[in-house]
């Protein structure tokens, strides 16, 4: 665990967000529209990774079923838009409610357990959600479901423009980052991080860790649900493939790659992972071979992920 000072964290995030905001201009300059699309995708996963970092990094809850919320958010878009609700705000609200319900029930059961049990149970609940959507034949089952159009903003089809959609996604990322940032410094965040360090101590001063962990788990699920809404819009398609356990694993990888418990790390990690995926895919269709090897090497030989490497490189304390 590398603790970033709150100011460093905000500064790094601000820098990242400015860089993101400039990307569409770079795309125009290079006449490469693909940059905007890729960057949107990166930001969507950055939100998901950010949400996971909140419980993984600050709560030490290794949730291996986090992709379920991406799926729940995405399917909320499919279900609502095919029933005439196309407004992005309403869809996000729906996704938050659906995610909260799923997280509250599965979290309440999972949090009764610890350690490897928790990891395996969250994985199993993720699979349960996966199979639920696979069996939803009215929404294409295994094959997925193509959306008619992107969601609307204030009744207008504004998101059809990739750039508008890019900036909407960026706005969501910035807001959710600020939310998470405030959260970890709040009373609530203190209890959560305190529980990560020493749950017995927290009980001995009068806290019941379960309540705080469950609340964090639900909040995190809701944030990932919002990422799911954006993901469905980005691909204009929803499918159970959004929520395979591989996806859950990749989200963990993103958080670790970027530096766990730093919030910005999740954003960096999402960018690094997706870039790496594209880059390795240029060399070979068997890019997963390289990704897998890299993962093992990262675990065996580095501590603290990219942020940690960067800090060591810059001469900071590791």
């Amino acid at each position: 665990m590398i603790a970033l000072a709150p100011r460093t964290r905000l500064l790094a995030a601000a820098l990242l967000f400015v860089l993101f905001a400039l990307l569409p201009f770079l795309a125009t300059a290079l006449d490469d529209h693909f940059i905007v699309i890729t960057a949107t995708r990166v930001m969507v996963f950055a939100i998901a990774a950010l949400s996971l970092d909140l419980i993984l990094g600050y709560g030490a809850l290794v949730s291996f079923g986090h992709a379920a919320y991406l799926g729940i958010g995405a399917y909320t878009v499919a279900v609502l838009s095919s029933n005439g609700v196309s407004d992005l705000g309403l869809q996000m609200l729906g996704a938050v409610l659906a995610s909260a319900a799923f997280a509250a029930v599965t979290g309440a059961i999972s949090l009764r357990t610890k350690g490897v049990y928790f990891i395996m149970i969250t994985l199993a609940f993720g699979q349960m959600a996966f199979f639920f959507f696979v069996s939803l034949s009215s929404y294409g089952g295994d094959d997925g479901f193509t959306l008619q159009a992107r969601s609307t903003l204030a009744g207008m089809a504004l998101l059809e423009d990739d750039r508008v959609f890019f900036y909407v996604t960026l706005a969501a990322l910035v807001l959710l980052f600020l939310f998470a940032n405030a959260l970890i410094g709040s009373r609530f965040g203190r209890v959560l991080t305190g529980t990560r360090e020493n749950p017995l101590r927290m009980q001995a001063v009068g806290f019941t860790p379960f309540r705080y962990q469950l609340t964090a788990y639900v909040i995190s699920g809701c944030m990932a649900g919002i990422a799911g809404v954006l993901l469905a819009n980005q691909t204009e398609f929803v499918s159970p493939a959004f929520m395979t356990w591989h996806r859950s694993g990749e989200l963990i990888v993103m958080v670790i790659l970027g530096g766990i418990g730093t919030l910005v790390g999740g954003i960096l990690g999402a960018a690094a992972f997706l870039m790496l995926e594209e880059w390795l895919a240029i060399f070979s269709e068997h890019w997963k071979l390289g990704m897998g090897a890299l993962l093992i090497l990262v675990v065996l030989f580095t501590r603290g992920g990219l942020t940690g490497l960067l800090r060591r490189f810059l001469g900071g304390r590791a």
């Binding site: 993984l56 290794v62 291996f64 599965t106 059961i109 009764r112 357990t113 610890k114 350690g115 490897v116 049990y117 990891i119 395996m120 149970i121 994985l123 199993a124 609940f125 699979q127 349960m128 199979f131 639920f132 696979v134 069996s135 939803l136 034949s137 356990w245 694993g249 963990i252 990888v253 670790i256 766990i260 068997h286 997963k288 071979l289 990704m291 897998g292 090897a293 890299l294 993962l295 093992i296 990262v298 675990v299 065996l300």
Partner: protein, 305 residues
């Protein structure tokens, strides 16, 4: 209806036995080494591919099996030597990441070596065909053979764990790892033995199903997650728990898929019943797991944490 029930119960039993073979090794690795190994399903898959290969080369199922098992064991030991032993004293998170990476490598490696298309393995002559059960009911010999082989393995494990020195160490290790090393046992070697043994059991399970399932690069993962469910229900580190949970999961899953829609038809109209049944059936074992954990957070036979 009774016939269908009997048939499906046997199928469920056979599925459960298979899950037990994979789960047995994994639960020991979890319990004794406190090591979360996502790549255990990979060993199952590799077992199936090895069998397919050696049956192809030798032209004989039995010869293929005899060669495939030690090779699966060797594969497991190589992985232990190269990667796993560096992870035992790491955090669960590191273990998750590294073994997740290993899955990517092996899955992709299998695709490169054997291709992405499913392979099939011919049924051995000796075990093909069916035997009559009751009345007009027939059941495939091969599936009975799987059940028998699994039960024999379970019995062997039971005897080994209850009555041998290594079994005693395993039991002690599963409940208190520090104590075993305090006894002066070479813990590294014990880990290696446990790991290799678990790998071979998983490989054996993979080899056994090769003739009745298609051998494809995704086969390890569906089994892996079901195995997790089994271990969690049974209680980590408990072979007995794994056995009972595996049979339970096998039966609930198989019977739920067949009889869920039938039962639902009693309360719902047919179309709704079949949709609800199809939705609920794959979720049943997870609901079962949730229910058991709600009352016993450490599983049926797990130690209280």
């Amino acid at each position: 209806m009774t016939n269908l029930l009997l048939l499906q119960a046997l199928n469920g039993l056979q599925f459960g036995i298979l899950l037990f073979l994979v789960a047995a090794g994994l639960t020991l690795v979890f319990g004794i080494m406190d090591f979360i190994n996502l790549a255990h399903g990979v060993l199952y898959m590799v077992g199936a591919y090895l069998l397919a290969t050696f049956v192809g080369v030798t032209g004989s199922f039995w010869l293929g099996l005899v060669i495939a098992l030690p090779v699966a064991l060797a594969f497991g030991l190589v992985l232990e030597f190269l990667i796993f032993r560096r992870l035992y004293d790491r955090s669960h998170l590191d273990q998750v990441l590294a073994t997740f990476g290993l899955i990517m490598i092996v899955n992709e490696g299998v695709k490169i070596i054997w291709g992405a298309a499913p392979l099939s393995v011919p049924m051995p002559e000796l075990l093909s065909g069916s035997v009559p059960l009751v009345g007009p009911l027939q059941y495939p010999v091969y599936r009975i053979a799987i059940i028998a082989a699994g039960l024999l393995t379970a019995l062997g494990l039971y005897l080994m764990i209850g009555h041998t020195r290594i079994g005693m160490l395993l039991r002690a290790g599963a409940s208190n790892g520090a104590m075993v090393s305090a006894l002066g046992v070479n813990i590294r070697r014990l880990f290696m033995i446990v790991f290799g043994f678990g790998a071979m059991l998983a490989g054996f399970a993979g080899a056994m199903v090769a003739p009745i399932l298609s051998v494809d690069p995704g086969m390890g993962e569906s089994v892996l997650i079901l195995t997790f469910v089994v271990i969690v229900i049974g209680g980590i580190g408990s072979i007995r728990g794994a056995f009972i949970a595996a049979i339970l999961v096998g039966l609930v899953d198989t019977l739920g898929r067949t009889f869920g829609p039938i039962l639902l038809r009693m309360v719902l109209e047919p179309s709704a019943a079949s949709q609800t049944g199809r939705t609920l059936a794959p979720m049943l074992i997870y609901i079962l797991m949730a229910a058991i954990l709600f009352f016993r957070p450490a599983g049926l036979f797990g130690r209280k944490s």
